[in-house]
């Protein structure tokens, strides 16, 4: 899939923002800082603890949109999803699984491009010394999931077990949720869990950022390709100026210096307009699991 990010120059570059800031000093209307902030939700991605990244993202989006931007972080996917659905957020970077779950209410705004494609895989990982070569070898393990609403960190494995007419409870000795892909790697790396389900993109990036920790794990199985966790908004807000400006800011990220630095930190190529079809695989897994339940 070739969803190349837009190459247009933004009208709200950094200099423009400064100029606009200067102009507002003379304006009699409300100041820049007094405008209601744009609320952008983030699910616990692998770099959620990187304060500098969050500050840079917030600064970039504010500069691009011309309004203060408030990044909203919650512990679980569900909290962010519910906040988005209830209109407390203008847009949010969610997982493909909640997107599929609430497809009728949500609209795809942008999709990250990783290694040239808007897709990623789910990895089944185990301890580095574990010789397992398939999910069958993980039977009886203590298994770490990321989040019950995560595609790569739960649904993919859950669906695979469903195909085997198993459930996590019947297949594994015990399971737990770490509410973060990085935490899944930590759990398996430390030996707390014998195996785990993790976002392949996160594992790949982490292996270069935290090699020591990731080196204690190995990939047992890589899943099929699924649509990358998208940035979504409610269908009702799809055409609002705020949402549009968010989308534009994301599309322009690869063209801006600050945006490129953010993308570089995230190991992403950029953001593109997505296609719903990318999430059909997730939808099929969801249906399979619902059927078993």
């Amino acid at each position: 899939m070739e969803n190349k990010p837009p190459n247009r120059r933004t009208m709200w570059g950094r200099r423009s923002v400064l100029a606009a800031g200067g102009a507002t000093l003379l304006a009699p209307a409300t100041t820049w800082a007094e405008q209601p902030p744009v609320r952008f939700g983030l699910t616990p991605v692998f770099l959620d603890s990187d304060i500098q990244l969050l500050a840079a993202l917030e600064q970039y989006l504010s500069g691009q949109i011309g309004r203060p931007v408030s990044l909203v972080k919650k512990r679980t996917y569900q909290e962010i999803t519910l906040m988005l659905l209830s209109g407390q957020l203008d847009a949010a970077w969610i997982c493909g699984f909640p997107y599929v779950q609430y497809r009728s209410q949500l609209s795809l705004l942008a999709i990250p491009v990783y290694n040239g494609r808007p897709e990623y895989q789910s990895y089944l990982i185990a301890g580095a010394q574990n010789p397992a070569s398939s999910i069958h070898d993980l039977r009886g393990h203590i298994h770490a999931f990321s989040d019950p609403n995560s595609n790569s960190g739960f649904l993919v494995t859950r669906a695979e077990l469903a195909k085997l007419r198993e459930t996590p409870e019947s297949f594994f000795a015990d399971t737990f949720f770490t509410y973060g892909h990085r935490n899944v790697i930590r759990a398996v790396s430390s030996g707390l869990a014998g195996s785990g389900s993790v976002d392949g993109y996160v594992w790949d990036v982490m292996s270069s950022l935290e090699d020591e920790m990731v080196s204690h794990t190995r990939v047992v199985r890589k899943s099929d390709w699924f649509g990358f966790p998208p940035v979504a908004c409610t269908r009702t807000a799809r055409n609002s100026g705020t949402v549009q400006s968010i989308a534009q800011a994301l599309f322009r990220m690869a063209d801006e210096e600050q945006g490129r630095q953010i993308l570089s930190t995230l190991h992403l190529d950029g953001f593109a307009e997505g296609d719903d079809i990318l999430f059909d695989g997730i939808a099929r897994n969801y249906a399979l699991v619902k059927e078993q339940a």
Partner: protein, 487 residues
């Protein structure tokens, strides 16, 4: 090694005191070290309890919300984040268990897997209900905390704490204590040695001079030495010098008295000798006269010459005895049997004058290894005293023999008995004993001094019915060289 080095009684104060100081310092250092280490140990245990308590408080707060949900990850995450976050306390591992002691999560998950039972050895450490168990040999401590909510046990926290740092700290304190105390001990011992040596220097001077007094010399302590001392020792030195002066005078007096006694004895003997020589002289003169007149008659001539010969022989014996007594014996340090035999001639005058019977027994061998001159003079003095003390027609007995390796001479009379002060003087005479006052006892005093110098002793028996028996014993082998200070 000489025995004085081994026997502490012979060590000088300058060695004893610093050694005592060193021993006391070692003792004090040991006690102080023990006290300090005990206090450190108590303090560290208290501190450990506080730190462990704070650590467990932190862990409890962090994991308590997750225990009811049995949330493995959040519990582990709390433990993992607490790792190394507590300064002064190094937890090797921490385990959070459910009420049934199954592991919910541990900081070392591979060692304590989820759902495994807490090791029995760990649980057994807290069976007595205590919350802290310390094993100093292993340099480890274990703590336990029960997490209770509304009287319901939610779970337990076990933690193993590394005490290496605490024990190292205690070891460092011990090493510092030993080093400091050793240094102080050596320092105090050295200072003690110098101080004591300086302090007892006057005592050494005094001891040296006292020792000289014991050996007969009465040297004063030089004024230069006296002036160098502290007031106390200067006063002591001056008193010693006064005593030395007095001793010196007494010694001179004793020597003078001895000389006088000798002269008196000489006079008495000279008188006796004159009498002994004079007695035969009348007969000898008569014999010469007879020879002159009737010398042509062979019988008369033989009789006269025999008389002359006997008279001259008697004179010769007396003269020879006097010569031996006052010019010394042929072999110094040796007494011959004959030396004592001759004494009969020297007291003959007295026995004749007082019509005394002399019971004479001389059972000595030909030669005895004692100071012959001293024995002769002492015996002569005692014999003359016995003769003087005996009543007219009395009996004086003399007996000399070797008994138990000693020369034993017994002289007895049947006079009124030896006055007790004189007897006491003889029994307890010392080189410094002065002669008794009055004219009596001078001969006995001289005899006592002579016997004392030969390391001999007296046995005096005075009978209540009168009469005195004096026995003197002189070691044959150990007798010293005669000292002629008195003789």
């Amino acid at each position: 090694m000489k025995s004085w080095r081994i026997n502490p009684r012979n060590w000088t104060l300058s060695v004893k005191v610093p050694l005592l100081v060193a021993i006391m310092m070692v003792g004090i250092a040991t006690v102080i070290s023990q006290v300090v280490l005990t206090r450190i140990s108590e303090s560290q245990e208290k501190n450990l309890k506080r730190l462990a308590g704070a650590y467990l408080d932190g862990i409890s707060t962090a994991v308590a919300p997750h225990l009811p949900r049995q949330d493995i990850w959040e519990t582990y995450d709390a433990l993992d984040r607490a790792r190394g976050g507590y300064e002064g306390l190094r937890a090797r591992y921490t385990i959070v268990t459910l009420p049934d002691d199954r592991v919910l999560a541990a900081s070392e998950p591979e060692r304590f897997p989820v759902n495994s039972l807490t090791p029995t050895i760990l649980r057994s450490r807290f069976e007595s209900g205590r919350s802290l168990d310390i094993d100093e040999d292993a340099k480890l401590a274990w703590v336990r905390r029960e997490l209770i909510s509304d009287n319901v046990v939610l779970g337990r926290i076990y933690s193993e704490i590394d005490l290496t740092e605490l024990i190292r700290e205690r070891h460092e304190v011990l090493v510092t204590l030993i080093a400091a105390n050793s240094l102080l001990t050596i320092l105090f011992a050295a200072v003690g040695y110098l101080v004591v040596r300086n302090m007892i220097q006057p005592v050494s001077v005094l001891a040296r001079h006292v020792e000289q007094v014991r050996s007969g010399a009465t040297d004063r302590i030089p004024d230069r030495e006296v002036s160098r001392q502290s007031p106390e020792f200067a006063a002591l030195f001056r008193r010693f010098n006064a005593m030395a002066d007095a001793l010196h005078e007494r010694s001179n007096l004793a020597r003078r008295l001895a000389d006088e006694e000798k002269l008196a004895l000489l006079g008495k003997l000279a008188s006796g000798m004159a009498h002994e020589v004079n007695n035969p002289l009348g007969g000898m003169m008569n014999a010469i006269d007879t020879l002159r007149r009737h010398g042509d008659k062979p019988e008369v001539r033989e009789t006269s010459l025999g008389l002359l010969e006997r008279g001259l022989a008697g004179i010769r014996n007396v003269v020879r005895a006097a010569l031996v007594t006052y010019k010394g014996v042929d072999a110094p340090g040796m007494l011959s049997r004959k030396d004592l035999e001759d004494l009969q001639f020297l007291v003959h005058h007295e026995t004749v004058r007082r019509h005394l019977r002399l019971d004479w027994t001389n059972a000595l061998p030909d030669h005895v290894r004692v100071d012959g001159a001293a024995v002769r003079q002492a015996t002569l003095n005692l014999l003359l005293n016995a003769c003087a003390a005996s009543p007219i027609n009395g009996t004086v007995s003399f007996d000399a023999r070797i008994a138990d390796g000693k020369l034993a001479i017994a002289i007895a009379d049947n006079g009124p008995g030896l006055p007790e002060p004189v007897a006491e003087l003889m029994r307890e005479a010392t080189p410094e004993t002065l002669p008794p006052s009055g004219s009596t006892g001078l001969g006995t005093w001289t005899a006592a001094r002579l016997v004392l110098r030969m390391n001999g002793n007296f046995d005096i028996v005075t009978s209540p019915s009168g009469g005195t028996a004096i026995r003197l014993f002189i070691p044959v082998d150990k007798q010293e060289e005669a000292l002629d200070a008195v003789a």
